[in-house]
Amino acid sequence: MKMLTSKIKALFPAKAELSAHCDGPCGVYDPASARIAAEAVVSMTKKMIALEGKTDLDSINNMSRYIAIKEEQAHIAKTEILVLWTDYFKPAHLEQFPELHDVIWETTKLLSHCKQHVDVEATGKLMEKIQQIHSMFWATKGRDVTFYVAS
């Protein structure tokens, strides 16, 4: 019976919508904020490498700014991800994505690594992980949202 109704649903999805309605809080969670912060980490890492070896005062000044921004944005990304993890994701989501805990752990660990080091390879892995979280998040909402990056 379930096979039959599933088939009907797949072939002829119901057109009428019934809203499990939410005015506000539904839009509160969005992995985009973690992605934007992580992209700043990627960008600052590249800028630091480009500036390596320069000793004029402006360069030293810029270098310290890049470091500060990298540190700050990595922390913001980490906070955003941990908020998604603890506030948004529910046990049923974990059943859907058993790898959820591991992915969160690896992503936040990578963010710590990106703070401690100037490691382009790690920032690449970081963006892959952020994309994985993005995909899981939107899959739980039954939506296919494209992952955009600025750079």
Partner: protein, 113 residues
């Protein structure tokens, strides 16, 4: 919530059940976005809504918006408190107050598919 059986399917074919696709997450984990349900629009001609019923209601301030919530209290004068199962992502009677019997449009009888 139970899955649709042959009788439900028959009632749907006879247009005694309405079929809807759920959007939004306020009834999570019972109903997830994309789930489909069957609704009996005449269920409350036989009996009044009661606590625990998952119902289709007319949003009190947004004309045309049909919402799915659970009846969580029966109030005086044929009014009902309706709530999402997922309170952190639900706009319900906490915001728009109780709904009247006329605003309750049907009972969710089964999951479809």
């Amino acid at each position: 919530m139970r899955d649709s059986n042959l009788l439900d399917l028959l009632l749907w074919i006879l247009r005694l059940r309405l079929r809807f696709r759920v959007t939004g997450a306020s009834m999570f984990p019972l109903l997830q976005p994309g789930d489909e349900v069957l609704i009996d629009p005449r269920a409350f001609e036989k009996r009044p809504p009661q606590v625990g019923d998952v119902v289709m209601a007319q949003h009190p301030t947004q004309p045309g918006l049909k919402i799915v919530k659970r009846v969580t209290a029966v109030l005086p004068d044929d009014h009902y408190q309706i709530s999402g199962d997922n309170p952190s992502a639900s706009t319900d009677s906490r915001t728009f107050g109780p709904v009247s019997r006329q605003q309750i449009l049907g009972l969710v009888t089964s999951r479809f598919g």
